[in-house]
């Protein structure tokens, strides 16, 4: 190694610094939020605390992080591999129920404790440490990702979307009907749901001052939970960025671009697609477990709306770009949980009206989506390559019609001119093409 000339070493060095940029800023942001909610907020003046509690309550922040995890997961399937999945909620549900089964008294017939001595509830049932449950749920969801992905392998676009939609409907139904009346064994308690779910055990971390041995549902433990969820989100970001840069990520992109050409270049479509489903499902499972511990119980209310909302986050944020997707998830889920309601309260107070804004959320999302598709199809923070296809004409396409690129770009900018002007510029373009 020492014989390597310095010039060859330099770029690698730079790359490693650049790759530290996001973990550092991510950590900084998370710590900032944590310190704010844990230490600063309880000590600031009354009105300020009130404002934050109204507009940015920590419960909403935690929910936002869980949606972020989900959106990063769906981004692997939709954004990276280009497989339109309308049933992603299935993995959220499976993950949540996995958490519920392994961290509650649901299976009271057995008495199984594993991993975390600090768990408060010591009764009957299966009580496994949150961290081990994450592993188990991740593995279980990966398996289900492959099982659900399997039948869709031969399908493309519309057909794929419809089959995944079907699975997204089936799985929550299974949980809804998984009680004694329907399957002869109380697997899921049906519509009554499963609860309470164990708090998150903190293990050796509880030696630190102020850290509870178990993070339950009480208010001041929520910032700590935020830290836990942020760690999961960071893990998902890290994994999806790493995979994206490697051999498998390239194969996914290639499949997104041209499935046939990819297979002709030695990419196994079966393996690549199934691994996209599996990785996406793992993230969904992790988010599902986190969601179960946040809410403290699990109900079979995983509807189609969940899938659509996650997809909306991915599309609005910028398909294929993790940061865009995170932004999309934060914005949409915040609007959904708090923003719209607060805006409604403010509006109604101002104009003395009684409009129920939160009930219009899908109307508003619909309008946002239409506007985005009209004016910024690539999303808030698109991948650079996606922006390219939305904003610039392909070179060969333009050359094929005899235009040079500069003329073509000018063409795009004058879309608002009148028809007459367009026609005249069309003729000049043709003239230009003829000369060159």
């Amino acid at each position: 190694m020492s014989t390597l000339p310095a010039a060859l070493k330099a770029p690698r060095q730079r790359r490693s610094i650049a790759s530290l940029a996001w973990p550092l800023s991510f950590t900084a942001a998370v710590i900032l939020v944590f310190v704010f909610y844990r230490y600063w907020l309880p000590n600031i003046a009354n009105s300020g605390e009130r404002f934050v509690a109204d507009w940015f309550p920590i419960t909403t922040i935690n929910l936002c992080v869980i949606w972020v995890i989900m959106a990063i997961g769906l981004n692997v399937v939709v954004g990276y591999a280009g497989l339109l999945d309308l049933g992603y909620v299935a993995f959220w549900a499976i993950g949540s129920y996995m958490g519920a089964w392994l961290m509650s008294a649901q299976f009271f017939q057995v008495n199984f404790h594993l991993g975390d001595p600090t768990i408060v509830s010591k009764g009957q049932g299966v009580h496994i440490s949150f961290w081990l449950v994450l592993l188990a749920a991740g593995a279980f969801c990966a398996l289900w990702g492959v099982i659900i992905g399997g039948p869709t392998l031969r399908l493309r676009s519309d057909y794929l979307a419809i089959v995944t939609l079907g699975f997204g409907e089936i799985i929550p139904q299974v949980f809804q009907n998984g009680d004694k009346e329907h399957i002869g064994f109380n697997l899921t308690s049906g519509t009554k749901g499963i609860g309470p779910i164990d708090p998150i055990g903190t293990g050796w971390l509880s030696n630190f001052k102020g850290v509870d041995p178990a993070l339950g549902l009480s208010g001041y433990e929520l910032p700590y939970k935020f830290l836990v969820y942020a760690v999961i989100a960071a893990f998902c970001v890290f994994v999806s960025l790493r995979i994206r840069r490697g051999r498998l990520g390239r194969a996914w992109l290639a499949i997104r671009e041209d499935e046939l050409a990819a297979s002709m270049m030695g990419v196994s479509l079966v393996k690549a697609k199934l691994s996209a489903y599996a990785v996406g499902a793992v993230f969904g499972g992790l988010g599902g477990v986190a969601y179960a511990t946040l809410v403290g119980s699990v109900f079979p209310n995983f509807t189609f709306n969940f899938s659509i909302t996650i997809l909306l986050m991915v599309v609005l944020g910028g398909m294929g770009n993790v940061w865009g997707v995170i932004l999309g998830a934060l914005v949409i889920s915040w609007i959904n949980y708090t923003g719209l309601g607060q805006f409604g309260d403010w509006y109604n107070g101002q104009f003395n009206s009684h409009v129920d804004f939160p009930s219009y959320n899908f109307l508003i999302f619909g309008v946002i989506l239409v506007l985005m598709m009209l004016f910024r199809r690539e999303g808030f923070l698109p991948e650079s390559r996606t922006r390219l296809i939305m904003r610039e004409p392909a070179r060969t396409e333009m050359e094929a019609v005899g235009a040079d690129i500069a003329a073509a770009e000018a063409e795009i900018e004058i879309t608002e001119e009148t028809e007459d002007e367009l026609v005249s510029s069309e003729t000049t373009k043709r003239a230009d093409g003829g000369e060159s």
Partner: protein, 277 residues
């Protein structure tokens, strides 16, 4: 001069052919697109497949690459039978192709395009990629270097970080060849590689094909319409017409072959009636 019987013009096999197709028949419903064609690509040879439109050339190509399953017949790559193997499997065993209408991964850089084709030769899985195992990093670095070399080889090293869609037409054609070579193939299939090139570029292309064969040690099979290219580049030419092999031989034989001339130009008045689509 009468048409030479096909069997006599087949060169005596020397060792194992790089690619061999035996008695290939492909029927789409009642239409027989390729009828009992036997064909080989000798090791280190440059051979061409020609024929008028609708002769079944591309269909035949698609059988070789595993895209279509032949109704009957067998395909061997080297000594290995690949008849019913999946396209990606055949590709990774050493049969690479380019496309008649360029099919690059448009929103990937030239380098990424080439690296996709190395997929089957790289070993990194999810775990080693996520953990960034040292051997995975080495493998990635080697893949980068190889793709850079290949892009230099085809003469587009300068644009390696450009998106494929932004390359000029000629560079896209070159990139397709570089991408195919990244599979480390034994046989390279070029489907109308000079389509859209001007005569000067076509002439350069002939040298390029020779260079690919000599330096990369691959056998080359072309489908080509430009006869000046075909005659100059090929060591052997096979002519298909309406799904059947009507002639095979060196450029001079083919030029003089009556059946070939007839297939291309037709007997007066009979052509329209014979055309099948």
């Amino acid at each position: 001069m009468t048409a030479t019987p096909v069997e006599e013009t087949v060169p005596a096999p020397t060792g194992v052919d790089a690619l061999r197709a035996e008695n290939i028949v492909i029927a789409f419903g009642g239409l027989i697109a390729v009828n009992d064609v036997t064909f080989n690509v000798p090791s280190d040879g440059i051979v061409s497949l020609i024929g008028p439109n609708g002769a079944g050339k591309t269909t035949f190509f698609n059988v070789l690459t595993g895209l279509y399953r032949p109704t009957s017949g067998r395909v061997y790559l080297g000594e290995r039978e690949v008849t019913d193997k999946k396209p990606h499997k055949i590709a990774s065993l050493g049969l690479a192709r380019t496309f008649q209408n360029i099919r690059l991964f448009n929103l990937m850089t030239a380098e990424e395009n080439v690296m996709v084709a190395m997929h089957s030769h790289l070993r990194a899985g999810i775990t080693s990629t996520v953990l960034g195992a040292p051997w995975q990093r080495r493998e990635e670095r080697r893949a980068h270097d190889t793709s850079r070399d290949l892009l230099e080889f085809v003469g587009i090293g300068k644009v390696r970080n450009e998106y494929a869609r932004n390359l000029s037409y000629g560079d896209q054609r070159r990139l397709e060849v570089a991408r195919a070579l990244a599979l480390n193939p034994k046989v390279l299939l070029l489907d109308e590689p000079t389509a859209g090139m001007n005569p000067q570029e076509s002439a350069q292309f002939v040298d390029f094909v020779h260079r690919v064969r000599d330096e990369k040690g691959v056998s080359v099979l072309l489908i080509e319409h430009d006869m000046s290219v075909v005659m100059r580049v090929s060591e052997r030419i096979t002519v298909l017409d309406r799904g059947e092999r009507i002639a095979e031989g060196g450029p001079d034989d083919i030029r003089a072959n009556e059946r070939v001339v007839e297939a291309y130009l037709g007997k007066t008045g009979t052509r329209e009636g014979r055309r099948q689509k």
